[in-house]
């Protein structure tokens, strides 16, 4: 009997050690901290947060669109994104300049007519129109945005559903730019990743080494396997993680001049989506909010929550 017990005990012992080594220790959460520090996901994705697009007359929508097409909107939004790039300590001046130029050379398409002003071919315009039917729906009511390259142009297609969700006739161009900072920072981040993948090597290595990335691997039950298959997990998510990184950085810039809690929360409410599970490219919500967002020093400070240790560029 003892002959059989020994290997079993040894196996259990090894498993326990491995699991203990791979499990992150709970952080020193202070009970005096504001409630949002316990779970940013719960703070942003409250049950009353519905994804319904509010009804809006055509006149109200057109009025809102006019505010989005102003130089004030562009300047405000670019200010947040450019500020985020310039503050990035790991980047050289040349790298900052390159990223900054790419962010500037990004075109926002709220309606098909915005694409017509870009000097694109008829085929390209038809392509954008078709893409918008697929991603926004024929009526345009889907709350969605998409970064795409068309004839070497960087284009962010913003669905009317998203515009309707954030605007009200009272808001100024600047307030509307603030409300779309996370979404547009995230979509711009896709370009800043795809065109500069080498810049994110250290960031990726850090994600692989950081045990808190366990949020990326719900399908794996044993931590030891999570470590072994780290590359398989982080790789497919990297594009979205980097996009969130830039979205969060832009948000931290925005919050230097706009401290309204409502603006802050509404920006992140778009990520809440329908579920919490990792979809293979977007990490789960707990990971995105309580690791990636809490890892941003500017956001952690604004929320009065301790910054989570994590990965920087």
């Amino acid at each position: 009997m003892k002959i059989f017990l020994w290997p079993t005990s040894l196996f259990l012992f090894v498993c326990t050690i491995c699991t203990a080594l791979a499990t992150p220790c709970p952080g020193p959460e202070n009970s005096n901290q504001p409630t949002q520090c316990k779970s940013l996901r719960q703070y942003f994705c409250s049950p009353e947060e519905k994804r319904n697009v509010p009804a809006m007359t055509d006149v109200e929508y057109q009025t809102s669109l006019r505010k989005l097409r102003t130089p004030e909107f562009t300047a405000r939004l670019q200010g947040h994104i450019q500020g985020a790039i310039q503050e990035e300590r790991a980047l050289t001046p040349a790298q900052k300049q390159s990223l900054s130029q790419k962010a500037k050379d990004t075109h926002l398409v709220f309606e098909n007519e915005d694409a017509m002003e870009l000097g694109l071919s008829e085929n390209a315009l038809l392509y954008i129109k078709s893409i918008r039917i697929l991603t926004c729906g024929l009526e345009g009511n889907v709350t969605n945005a998409m970064a795409l390259y068309v004839e070497n142009r960087r284009i962010i297609s913003v669905c009317p559903g998203l515009v309707r969700k954030i605007v009200s006739a009272q808001q100024t161009s600047e307030e509307m730019a603030d409300s779309l900072t996370f979404v547009l920072g995230h979509e711009t981040g896709h370009f800043l990743f795809k065109e500069h993948e080498a810049l994110y090597e250290n960031f990726k290595d850090c994600l692989l080494d950081n045990p808190t990335h366990e949020g990326l691997a719900k399908q794996s039950t044993m931590n030891i396997f999570k470590i072994i298959f780290g590359e398989l997990r982080v790789g497919p998510h990297l594009n979205e993680i980097v996009a969130d990184y830039w979205g969060n950085r832009a948000m931290a810039q925005m919050m230097k001049s706009n401290t309204r809690a409502e603006t802050f929360r509404s920006n992140y409410s778009f990520i809440c989506g329908i579920g919490n599970d990792d979809d293979g490219e977007h990490p789960g919500l707990d990971y995105r909010f309580d690791f990636l967002t809490r890892n941003d020093p500017g956001i952690a400070e604004a929320l009065q929550c301790p910054m989570r240790p994590g990965c920087r560029l």
Partner: protein
């Protein structure tokens, strides 16, 4: 007709019935848009009876949007044509827009290649044909 010819005709009939959807079958199409930067998808489903009485339901996670309508035989033919055209294109690698459809016993799933103008155009034609019923 000799026995051999009859056997060949029988198999041809069977195989053509399996490959081509018959006009008198229920059919079902489901498609989903992945939402960015959100986690989650908006799902739309079309269900049509043999009499071509159809229901289209869109679910973005909030209130469901519904439309009831009847398709003409011509419209059904056009839908079939667009689906079989879509099926011939190489599939995309990301799941920005995915479709699956069931005609009789035939089940097909397809991920649209968003980088390629042709499948995007075909899928957009199909979606326009269906979602126009939300406007009515």
């Amino acid at each position: 007709m000799n026995l051999c010819a009859r056997i060949v005709t029988f198999f041809l009939l069977i195989s053509s019935n399996l490959a081509t959807p018959k006009g008198s079958e229920d059919f079902h199409i489901q498609y989903q848009r992945r939402l960015s930067p959100a986690l989650g998808v908006a799902v739309t489903e079309l269900t049509c009876s043999t009499q071509l009485s159809c229901t289209l339901v869109e679910d973005q996670g909030g209130e469901k949007k519904q439309a009831h309508f009847s398709l003409t035989v011509e419209e059904k033919k056009e839908i079939l044509k667009l689906l079989s055209e879509l099926q011939r294109y190489e599939q995309g690698r990301d799941d920005t827009f995915r479709l699956s459809w069931k005609f009789g016993n035939k089940v097909v799933a397809h991920t649209v290649n968003m980088q390629n103008q042709k499948p995007v155009g075909t899928a957009a034609k199909l979606i326009s044909m269906l979602e126009v019923h939300f406007r009515k």
